[in-house]
Amino acid sequence: MNRWAWVTGCVLALAGCGGGSDPEPAPAPELGPVVIERLADLERQLGTPEDLPGLKPEEVEEVDGLVTMLASSKGALREVPLEAIREDVGPAAIGRLSEHLADSARKTALRLAAAELLGALDHPRAAEVLMRQIEQAREPWMRSWCAWYLGDTNQDQAVPRLLRRLRYEKDPATFLWLGRALLNFHNYGGLAALEDLATRGEDDNQRRTAAELLQAAAERAGVEPSQLAGLWASQRAEELPQPTPSLRLRHEIWKLVNELSEAHFQLRGVDDARHVLSNMGPWVAREIAPALGDTDAHVRLHTAQVLERMGPRAVSSGPALLAALADPSLAPAAAEALGRVGHPPAVPALAARSAPGQAHELRVAALRALGRTGLAEGLPSLRAAFQPDTEPTDLCQAAATALVLLDAGDEVAHWLTQQLTDPLADGEGAELALETWLWRGSEAERKGFVAALEAWRAAAGPPGVIPSLDQVRQRLNERGQLLKKLLPKLLALATD
């Protein structure tokens, strides 16, 4: 047989085996050791940490004397030990001050004076001592005061750990001073805690102090206090006063990105890193977006999750996320992130990923994302995907929920209602989508929706009571029956 006949035959045969054209319009970005390189670069710039000089015996006495003096001084006299620690003793005092701070047998006033002196030194090692107390001290007052003094320094590398502490702190007064410290570093991740304290604080003093902190932050930003949280959560977050991150802070950020890697098995550290990074300002979205191209799949996926959780504040990462859609292992997470950050050019790309022929996981994520963009351009793709007779249920549910978010819930309300009572369906997911539909109708003052929402909510158990599985089934059933009765009227009113 002719040799060329073989070759041609093979080519034709293999071409015939192909399933169609390449669905990816662009190649996946080239991957590299982004995190390792960034860390190495920052560590090179930071250099080796300096060794602190030791204290001579007489200097130990001097430091102890300054602590005692500050603890017993008032008014302008207090400036004397503060200036002396800065000008005369310097960072060499950190070790001794740290001993004062950690010694629970000492008088409270002396320990607090040591904390204040550490703050006055405004040194990375002193910040570390204060931070450790904020994280580990059993006494809430100690955590509070250390947060206060740390917040008056320029040691912005503490911000990630302050955010992490805020996540686990239980003492309301400490919330207050953690929030203040974060605001001083131009981080607004503590706004929710401060707003909560301003309205529901334990006493007048707490409420007033929280309100004053919010007022001061708002004045610096040139807005009303009530606008702060909205601005922070929006694409306009950069209109708030922005920090100039130090090398140390950038190093801390990349250490957190490294925490996301496959090498870290325990989710505890991963969860903390995701939480902290997603509560940082818009500059961090720009800083970490290159990690979407890291060789570690865990880093890539969790970075996309961080950007998703940052939401519109991470809008600058839109192009990088769009490129990440070409990475099959990252595409679903990138799609979900694009939905949250609200990058308008993403809609056609998401629509393409929601079409048959794409991986199921990606289609579901893309449909969910199309709803979250809030952009009506996604409607045709969602309608095309919502095919309960032929498409998998979870895909239809993602499309239906997205249609609700784009104010087209009338088209899917009947199907979602059926899901409430189908034992194999995602009843809880359908329930959340239907509640959103009723709520949006109620907000839009559509006829019948206010009463329907009230009846719907009446079928829920008391807030805070965790229902049993049977009670959940009963609730879903009750709500299903309720909507079956109400739907014809609600939908008829819509077409009147």
């Binding site: 002719n2 045969a13 991963v270 799609a335 199921h360 979870d394």
Partner: protein, 342 residues
């Protein structure tokens, strides 16, 4: 003409060869091409599917305790998704942390999450490339590290490694995935009992109480769990309560004696009191009230906090008067005034 025939014959031969290599034969191609739901497994694996559907793996997304505001808050806390709706374990690799998935989340920890291999086949105990799901014998399914991708987040597998069970080679499956009816030929039960199975929980610990000259010594022992009791950070707790038994028969309020629980990460004010494998712990009840008859109660909690059963408001331990309104009884012992245990 001869060249054309050569091309045709070569093409047909290569097509046949490639088809066989890709599909493994025509019978295999009758199965689903993509796996989008564990419901696809139901028709062939009816018994296993029913067991799984009734398991807490299947409910990992719908479990009301997990969806509670204090826990995942309907998964608004997305950190929970990684293990409650994971991508296939074999995609990230045994021993590695799992990653969260976007699709079929309501199916929780499902057939696909545990069995789908990166090559599209299903990990199982036999090799059969001609069956619809092309099972591939995969011994890793039985390894502790396999369960550990999620459960060692709570160090459960690490706790097991230092026990006599590990020395004997009795791993997770021994208790949590036993053979159906004890018969290896019947395969393993996919109900996977754990903390929700009160009988299993009760078999793991013993509770005894004995009067002595100074009061009553209460002993709680982890006798049969090859990991700590309980073995979960934050979400699980077990409490010891006691109360004097009034001669009048009046039910006096319960008093908290001891809490067995791990603190949640940065809970600086909560000590870790997990009862480690084979550990016995003695607690003392002393004072005037301990002189008469009393009863001691060990309860198990799926969420750590006690709440008012009608309003859901959280109680401090000191406010709880009826622990069983928000927990399950594991063991109860009565000690009479003379010291005899009932």
């Amino acid at each position: 003409m001869r060249i054309g025939a050569g091309i045709f014959v070569s093409a047909m031969f290569v097509w046949l060869l490639v088809s066989l290599l890709i599909t493994g034969g025509s019978e295999a191609s009758a199965g689903p091409q993509t796996w989008t739901s564990s419901r696809q497994c139901m028709s062939c694996h009816e018994e296993v599917f029913a067991e799984w559907q009734d398991s807490w793996h299947a409910r990992s997304w719908t479990d009301p305790d997990v969806r509670a505001p204090s826990q995942s808050n309907n998964f608004q806390n997305k950190d929970c998704i990684d293990c409650h709706a994971p991508r296939p374990v074999f995609e990230t690799g045994v021993g590695n942390r799992v990653l969260p998935r976007s699709s079929r989340r309501s199916e929780g920890v499902d057939c696909i999450a545990c069995h789908l291999l990166p090559n599209g086949r299903m990990a199982g105990t036999i090799d059969n490339p001609r069956a619809a799901c092309k099972p591939q014998a995969t011994v890793q399914l039985q390894r502790e590290d396999y369960c550990g991708v999620c459960h060692n987040q709570h160090k459960t597998v690490d706790q097991w490694r230092d026990t006599a069970w590990a020395e004997r080679g009795e791993g997770c499956l021994h208790c949590h995935m036993p053979f159906r009816d004890g018969d290896p030929n019947r395969g393993r039960h996919h109900g996977m009992p754990g903390g929700h199975d009160l009988e299993l929980v009760a078999s793991a610990v013993t509770l005894t109480a004995q009067r002595d000259a100074n009061g009553v010594g209460v002993r709680v022992s982890n006798v049969a769990a090859a990991h700590s009791y309980p073995t979960d950070e934050r979400s699980r707790a077990s409490d010891l309560w006691w109360r004097p038994l009034a001669e009048s028969g009046e039910k006096l309020p319960w008093r908290h004696l001891h809490r067995i629980r791990d603190p949640y990460r940065w809970e600086v004010d909560v000590p870790s009191t997990l009862l480690m494998p084979a550990e016995e712990r003695e607690l003392r009840i002393e004072g005037t009230d301990s002189e008469g008859s009393l009863e001691v109660l060990l309860v198990y909690k799926l969420t750590p906090f006690y709440r008012d059963p009608t309003t859901g408001e959280p109680y401090t331990l000191g406010q709880v008067t009826d622990p069983l309104s928000d927990s399950q009884e594991v063991h109860r012992v009565v000690v009479d005034a003379g010291g005899e245990r009932k």
